[in-house]
């Protein structure tokens, strides 16, 4: 079918499919489409040549720019993941992920939203560092969410005075809770600091260095519980105790306060006095950091 007989919708579907088709190894447009048709024929049916470029070459400009753009956007948000798996593996991960999950949002900000989950389901993509890579991806995506997530008013003293064990609370929307198998927050911070140092010493942009997987001496599997959150427009990673993490997670899931505390300490080895001391200190910290908010109306209604 030629573009002359196609509806606008058909033209857009055909062009989008061509533009979003992965490139060849040497970053050219493929010669055949996924369904086996010739890309040259598809290009000729849509695009007119000019005196310098064929239809194929003109369509290829958009094909390449699409991939350069989305790969660039993903590399910006997951620079530590790229360093940990190496540039080649990261590109393979990115292409496979974006082929399965092309952008469904008007903003590139959301491009990597499903990458941590996707990577967890595709262990073959990251080799022996797979579990670490998944943790790194989760830490880096938490940064994106903490960076520009909403900020609600924290609980007031008047609201706190009305709370009891059955009360439900909400967490600050920019707060992200992570249960990690590796201390990936440290790895991310370390890689970033190293990248900046190398870049500044070499006088080159940080993205131009380190194509091979980064050396990570002494990295061991060791569980870590982390909160990514924002204070005064800057993102922080705060280490939590497991009990602290579970209590917060239960609160975020809408569990009543008493139930969240009980769940948080269900497997704890702390005695009663230690538990009370921890709770007092943690709730004080969370309040100071503005982490606890009144729940949305729907949640309140649900609990009634």
């Amino acid at each position: 079918m030629s573009a002359g007989t196609m509806s606008l919708e058909q033209v857009q579907r055909a062009m989008a499919a061509a533009v979003m088709q992965p490139l060849t190894e040497d970053e050219q447009m493929r010669s055949t489409a996924a369904d086996g048709r010739s890309m040259a024929a598809i290009a000729e049916s849509l695009i007119a040549p000019n005196s310098r470029l064929s239809s194929f070459e003109r369509l290829e400009i958009y094909n390449r720019q699409y991939w350069f753009r989305v790969l660039g956007a993903l590399a910006e948000d997951f620079s530590a993941l790229r360093a940990v798996v190496g540039a080649r593996a990261f590109e393979a991960i990115s292409v496979a992920y974006l082929t399965e999950h092309p952008s469904r949002s008007f903003t590139l900000r959301n491009l990597g939203s499903k990458l941590p989950e996707w990577l967890a389901q595709h262990p073959q993509m990251a080799g022996r560092r797979h579990r670490l890579a998944v943790d790194i991806a989760r830490v880096e995506w938490a940064f994106v969410e903490a960076f520009d997530g909403a900020e609600h008013d924290p609980l007031t003293a008047e609201q706190i005075a009305t709370l009891d064990g059955g009360s439900r609370l909400a967490l600050q929307p920019h707060l992200r809770l992570l249960a990690l198998e590796y201390p990936a927050d440290e790895v991310v911070r370390g890689l970033h600091a190293g990248e900046k140092r190398q870049a500044s010493e070499a006088g080159i942009a940080s993205e131009e260095i380190e194509e091979a997987p980064a050396a990570l001496p002494g990295i061991r599997r060791r569980p870590a519980w982390v909160a990514a959150h924002r204070v005064e427009h800057a993102v922080y990673y705060k280490r939590l105790r497991r009990e602290e993490f579970v209590t917060l997670r239960c609160l975020s899931e809408g569990k009543p306060l008493a139930d969240a505390i009980a769940a948080g300490f269900a497997e704890s080895r702390l005695n009663e006095v230690q538990t009370a001391r921890c709770l007092r200190a943690w709730f004080a910290n969370w309040a100071e950091l503005g982490w606890l908010c009144a729940p949305e109306l729907e949640l309140l209604m649900e609990g009634m």
């Binding site: 606008l8 033209v11 695009i47 000019n50 008007f106």
Partner: protein
């Protein structure tokens, strides 16, 4: 500057695109700038530093919104969440008008994040105009559509790009953001006369003009916004001002961004065309 109904009769002068590398200079020195253009999508978020910085800018400067993902020519209806967030930002900035591109970029809810050219067909005219109207009605401010740089032309096109632009804006009853650099880039890539394009545009609908630099390659030109404006583009700008009268003008510089002063000085060159008598006087005195 008289303005017209497509830019809410605003006398905006010459502005530059608001870019992060310039924040420190702007906040420390508070330079006199007629206005800043922001990329809407960078601020259609829930919170954090970008919005805090925008609010500081809004305390001191006029801001006009420019979008890159409304895709007026896309067949798939716009995402309601996108529209909701855009309107929220419109309320925040008080932008007197808003612009986005005469292109498409998403289909069936999948986004290419590119400004893809449209086939210049009557079907595309109707669908695009309908969408512009809908967005304009929803946002309740004037909307201007911008001609894009393009690298491919469709075999199915039934008219020239400027005829297509004219048909869309007349049917949508909207304004035009005339990007004279994009006209130059597309003219080179599609081998048409750029001046013929400028001469054909319905001048009374031009709400704003974009100027920018680009990059030349072996077989085509790319709209890179990483160079000063070249003389042939200034010639197109001069002709546009001759036809449209003084019009809010904006320099885009998006890559390899030089100092604030350098970008601002490049933008201010537009004043030679907007106020030729004043420029001549300054040269004579200076």
């Amino acid at each position: 500057m008289a303005g017209n109904r497509f830019n809410a009769y605003q006398d905006h002068g010459v502005g530059i695109g608001l870019r992060i590398p310039h924040y420190a200079h702007i906040f420390a020195r508070k330079p006199v700038v007629d206005w800043f253009e922001i990329i809407s999508e960078n601020f259609m978020i829930d919170g954090g530093r970008p919005l805090a910085m925008l609010d500081r800018i809004l305390e001191q400067y006029r801001v006009v919104q420019h979008g890159v993902s409304m895709y007026f020519g896309s067949v798939t209806p716009p995402d309601p969440e996108h529209l909701r967030r855009l309107k929220q930002l419109v309320r925040r900035t008080g932008t007197p008008w808003l612009s986005d591109h005469l292109c498409w970029g998403s289909v069936d809810g999948t986004y290419t994040h590119d400004l893809l050219p449209l086939p210049y067909t009557w079907e595309a005219v109707e669908r695009t105009a309908e969408r512009v109207r809908m967005v304009q009605d929803y946002l309740e401010i004037p909307v201007a559509v911008e001609n894009v740089s393009s690298y491919a032309a469709f075999t199915s096109s039934q008219m020239t790009e400027w005829e297509f632009l004219t048909e869309v804006v007349e049917r949508a009853d909207c304004g035009i953001l005339l990007d004279v650099n994009n006209i130059y880039v597309s003219a080179m890539n599609h081998e048409f006369d750029a001046m013929e394009y400028v001469n054909a545009v319905p001048a009374h609908r031009v709400a704003q003009i974009h100027i920018a630099g680009h990059s030349k390659y072996e077989k085509y030109i790319l709209d890179t916004h990483d160079h000063p404006v070249i003389d042939p583009v200034w010639d197109l700008y001069a002709r546009a001002i001759e036809r449209c009268g003084p019009t809010p003008t904006l320099l885009e510089w998006d890559d390899r961004i030089p100092s604030f002063d350098e970008v601002h000085a490049e933008a201010k060159k537009a004043e030679r065309y907007l106020h030729p008598q004043a420029a001549t006087l300054t040269e004579a005195v200076g």
